[in-house]
């Protein structure tokens, strides 16, 4: 073995580092490069950012970045597809080592993502398919979300009922949730969809409430409302309450927020259950998958964050009033064991 000055230097540095680590154990000793020292630079390039979901997602990204000592840059295109694509180039120019693409359009992001990969940057994408085998796709499993909610609906109401369904075609997560609904209708011949409606006019809950009121008067035989997006469910709940039908109809939905929790907890609330993935956890998983890539590990091409079923009964029995309570009292909601190699710090650990 050739002992050069360089190697000696490295050994010395390593020893010095090791002693420092013993003194300061907060910065875990066993993290692989480049996370052995803080300051890894990554960028989050966002397409959607307004609303509770996206706020929570960002907080998850920030928490995991902090736990890894990452220097996070947030670039927010505010639903401007062209700008989002430019922002990837901007991030490349900033010299980041990794990029998280959060939502966007396949058409505009595919090439931009490829440019980043060509520049030697590791990329992960959340909820936008960039059609690139080198880029892991982070997904909350929309099919599982819908499946959990609908299984609960069957459990509560039997397998034969008339349903109102809130759906807008062309929104990727809603389309995926719709596939499950189609399957469930096929599986149970007794489940009949008597009305389908939906709108994204904002405030969404208000517009959906108007529609749902019309649907309820046209179809008084509806027993179950499947509204696989919480804004839809809020609107349906308003309409059901206004029509005084809250004891005769049950609402099943997807997603959750603090205001959803209080709506579900109301006395005689028609909102029976929702299936949700914690957006903060999705944010954490996005960073972890990227960190694995940077450390030379393979998180897999499809990184799926599993959802949790949340029922009205659980919320009341466990006295859960907001998202913090939910994370504290339903541990499966607070943390997902996804992209968690042994060296990965858990931002939720106290």
């Amino acid at each position: 073995m050739n002992i050069t000055r360089r190697l000696l230097g490295k050994v010395a540095l390593g020893l010095a580092g090791a002693t420092m680590l013993m003194q300061v154990p907060a910065f875990a000793a066993d993290k692989p490069a480049p996370f052995d020292k803080p300051g890894v630079k990554i960028a989050l390039v966002r397409y959607l950012s307004t609303g509770d979901f996206f706020q929570a997602y960002l907080s998850g990204v920030e928490a995991q970045s902090k736990a890894l000592g990452i220097d996070l840059r947030v670039l927010d295109s505010r639903q401007d597809a062209a700008l989002q694509s430019d922002m990837v180039d901007q991030a490349i120019a900033l010299g980041v080592q990794g990029i998280i693409i959060q939502h966007g359009l396949t058409e505009s992001m595919k090439d931009a993502a490829q440019r980043a990969v060509d520049a030697g940057i590791k990329v992960v994408a959340f909820d936008v398919n960039v059609e690139n085998p080198k880029i892991p796709q982070i997904e909350q499993s929309d099919k599982d979300l819908a499946r959990l909610a609908l299984e609960q609906a069957v459990k509560d109401n039997g397998d034969s009922w008339n349903a109102g369904y809130v759906y807008i075609a062309g929104i990727a997560p809603l389309d995926r949730r719709n596939e499950t609904w189609v399957d469930v209708k096929k599986k149970y011949a007794g489940i009949k969809e008597v009305a389908m409606f939906g709108t994204l006019d904002n405030p969404i809950a208000n517009s959906v409430a108007n529609q749902a009121r019309s649907v309820l008067s046209a179809h008084p035989d509806i027993k179950v409302m499947f509204a696989p997006y919480d804004e839809f469910a809020k609107g349906v709940k308003i309409a059901v309450d206004e029509a005084g039908l809250n004891k005769g109809i049950k609402i099943y939905s997807a997603d959750i927020s603090t205001s959803d929790i209080s709506a579900m907890r109301e006395p005689d609330s028609a909102w029976a259950a929702t299936a949700a993935t914690n957006p903060a956890v999705v944010g954490q998983v996005s960073v972890r998958a990227l960190a694995q890539l940077l450390a030379g590990e393979d998180p897999g091409h499809n990184v799926i964050v599993p959802p949790t079923l949340i029922t009205q009964k659980e919320l009341i029995d466990k006295d859960i009033k907001n998202m913090e309570d939910l994370s504290a009292k339903l541990p499966q909601f607070a943390h997902a064991d996804v992209a968690m190699p042994a060296w990965m710090p858990n931002p939720n650990a106290k």
């Binding site: 706020q55 389908m196 904002n202 208000n206 019309s214 008067s217 046209a218 206004e242 209080s262 913090e324």
Partner: protein, 331 residues
């Protein structure tokens, strides 16, 4: 009167009745007192906004900020009650003040700073969409929410406030008419009387039809214009209060759809009774027209895009009534 005059004058009303008759046959359960009340309820919020924007149209202006004034008022109401833990009265007063202040600023920008109305209110729209998010860092407001500093907001929407969205008055049938519908009807009557029968209202029309002539005749044109924006702002904030009471939380929203629906109602109103000018009665009918259409179409399971399409068709037809048939566009 010639046939053509009749067509201009009553065409739209006939269309409205035709629509009701069609839905009565085509959609089960369309004809019932509950269904009628519900149509009013579904247009109450946009209707109130539309009445407000009518005031600015009357003076020859325009107010693009009403949608965001409404959502800002909604956020303010939620903030006052949930975060500051104040009662319903304080919340309502704060909302109305916000509406009045925004109206004053709009009016001041347009009258004294000489910013064109569309641009001034467009700027105000963006400003408010951003401003409403600053106190909570972009979060929606609900009881039990976590504030940016980590504390938990424990205030609640007061029962009195929620009653604005949920209480129903007895009217032949118990629990029939929601508060929002009463508010809409009262405001419609008020603004209709104000614009048609008071000196103030007539002067506003004079300002709108010829600002210079009105000024030479000695009218305080600037004051009238500012008042119009204050009315619009206050009406929009009332719409926001009703929205907050209905939703029971402060929802992040730009209110653009509220703006568009309200403007559509006001423009459809031009065609009612061949008025060919902004008028409160027409606006109310216009809002109702859109409400009936949407109710009927939804009952018949028509998807949302066909509803937007039909809304657009109605607006275009109404504008043709106004400008081509009444010969106004040629003048």
């Amino acid at each position: 009167m010639t046939l053509r005059d009749h067509a201009i004058r009553y065409g739209f009303i006939v269309l409205l009745f035709g629509l009701v008759a069609y839905f009565a046959i085509a959609a089960d359960g369309f004809v019932s007192p509950q269904s009628a009340v519900f149509i009013f309820q579904s247009v109450a919020i946009t209707g109130v906004l539309a009445l407000g924007v009518t005031a600015t149209l009357v003076v020859g202006g325009f107010d693009l900020s009403i949608g965001s004034v409404a959502t800002s008022a909604m956020m303010a109401a939620a903030y006052v009650m949930v975060v500051l833990e104040q009662n319903a009265v304080v919340a309502v007063v704060v909302c109305l003040l916000i509406g009045a202040i925004v109206g004053l600023i709009n009016g001041w920008l347009i009258v004294y700073m000489r910013v064109p109305d569309l641009l001034a209110t467009l700027g105000m729209m963006f400003l408010l969409v951003g401003l409403q998010r600053i106190p909570t860092e972009g979060r929606s407001i609900a009881t039990g929410m976590t504030m940016p500093d980590g504390s938990v907001a424990n205030g609640k929407f007061g029962d009195a406030f929620l009653a604005l969205g949920r209480h129903r008055f007895d009217f032949f049938i118990p629990n029939l008419i929601p508060v929002s519908v009463v508010v809409l009807l009262v405001l419609a009557l008020l603004i209709w009387f104000f614009l048609e029968y008071t000196r103030f209202g007539r002067m506003m029309y004079a300002v709108g039809s010829n600002e210079r002539a009105a000024e030479l005749a000695g009218a305080p044109v600037k004051a009238y214009k500012i008042w119009a924006y204050v009315i619009s702002g206050v009406f929009a904030s009332i719409g926001g209060i009703l929205l907050a009471a209905r939703l029971g939380r402060g929802d992040i929203a730009s209110g653009n759809n509220l703006l568009l629906d309200a403007v559509a109602a006001a423009l459809i109103g031009y065609a009612v009774l061949g008025a060919a000018k902004p008028n409160a009665f027409g606006t109310a009918v216009g809002a109702l027209f859109v409400g009936i259409l949407l109710q009927g179409l939804t009952m018949m399971n028509a998807p949302y895009y066909t509803q937007d399409f039909v809304k657009g068709v109605v607006l275009v037809v109404a504008l043709v009534f106004t400008f081509a048939l009444s010969g106004r566009g040629r003048g």
